[in-house]
Symmetry: C2
Amino acid sequence: MFIGVDLGGTNIAAGLTDESGVILRRACVKTLSERGPEAVAKDIADICLNLCEQSGTDISAVRWVGIGSPGAVDSAAGRVLNAYNLGFADVPLADMVRAHLPDTKIHLENDANAAALGETAAGGAKGYASSVCVTLGTGIGGGIIIDGKIYTGFNGGAGEIGHHVIVADGVPCKCGRKGCWEQYASATGLIRLTKKTMDSAPESLMWRLSREHGKVGGRTAFDAMRAGDAAGRAVVDEYLNYVAIGITNIIDILQPEAVCIGGGIAGEGQPFLDALSPLVYGGVFKAGDKATALRLATLGNDAGIIGAGFLGLD
Amino acid sequence: MFIGVDLGGTNIAAGLTDESGVILRRACVKTLSERGPEAVAKDIADICLNLCEQSGTDISAVRWVGIGSPGAVDSAAGRVLNAYNLGFADVPLADMVRAHLPDTKIHLENDANAAALGETAAGGAKGYASSVCVTLGTGIGGGIIIDGKIYTGFNGGAGEIGHHVIVADGVPCKCGRKGCWEQYASATGLIRLTKKTMDSAPESLMWRLSREHGKVGGRTAFDAMRAGDAAGRAVVDEYLNYVAIGITNIIDILQPEAVCIGGGIAGEGQPFLDALSPLVYGGVFKAGDKATALRLATLGNDAGIIGAGFLGLD
């Protein structure tokens, strides 16, 4: 058995998993990172011990605890280098947790990388030795798996695919660059595009749908398109073009065996993938007969827990 | 000793090298690929035997022959999958050469990947375990080295960094996409940008320089800038911005230990790198304290021969 911990800005979510990635028992506490890293590390250790106690398992039966943390991580050293939304800078988090669990191995990794490992080991990219996992959420997260292992780059920071620029001098991004993929292909980007199109389409169904839901959301244009709204379809088409540009870029650079797409937008499911596929395959630089597979993520919010549990497999 | 063969659309260039990558003797014949792959393979074998004979070396002292070929290559199978400028499709080139050199190991790889290995093993990226080598020439070539080995992706096609889109729906590229990095940051892109700027700057020194050289070239704007021409500086500034966007994208995705820049434009040397560096470092997504080094390629046109010679080290 493994324990996977998904350390987030709001919650610490953890699961006791079997070795195929099935979550046997789960637990969640508030992160409250303003208490500082020592308190968070103590809570992580406590949640691990509680998971064991509740499931009648001795901690010695847990082969390791894997922790996915936001921000830049030095996994070899077990340090969180910087995680802005936790306020952590150069924190030896693995050692801090180990102080409370002295006989347990602790592995630490970036949370998006851990989630990518989860999808590759037990989710949408299962069976593929190399994959890039893309999360289209509020932002765009990414994780690169090569030969079944997380690829971190030499400094732990690889896989920031959301911040590669696809529109030179485009929309400013909080990372400091202009025109990052995240600004166009995240849910945030989709909502911006939806609002812009609505402004020039006063008759669009999107106005009624967004009033009914109290806001313009990531589903507004998709729902309108399904109801036959031309402006909704135009938004979705433009949005899919941006999604495809980034995915095709990743394939041209890395040619992974699979690209696995998750996050809220991927909840649109197979029709989303079916509409995206020709845009990607029409653009990729051909390399012989073998083409990267496009897959939907299947683990949802559990990818972080499950992937963290697999961290010791490396 | 190794023999490295750089198979090009025009020439087959080869070198007998020592194990540090020094070319001891070199030879070159016309490719004449229209004769078909068997004739080209025979010429590759003959050039290897001639190199040995001219240097008083028995072919048995050559540990292997490495061949860098344009196009998509399946290096494990020793096949050129497709190389448009040779007219080769699914050619078992390694076997064809081996038929003439039965006791010699033959390694085959994409030419840009071989050149990247050369720069990493013995050139500008020497000493770095991971690197991305970027060639800013007529187009943009690329090669990715991870842990000292060429990263090819699952199908041999990785590293097509020139065809990642940085301007969504931008300038059409021969690969079929619009707005590829190659259209903006290659010498061809620089020349397009130079001509466009000249059209709106009739007083620019670039007009006189290009008349003197008989054409607008990749150096026109750089030479004008050095002579104090404002329009020339504007071209160079805009061009450097495009170069930096692509390099920063690569770093955000891969965080290699070094990016090594070669090709004709890199002939501008250290001032080019000094102007480029702040644009790149100002944009990269920070990952702790360790930043990717930017280096100039040092092997020039020999990178392909030298890198091909190192192919057997993998």
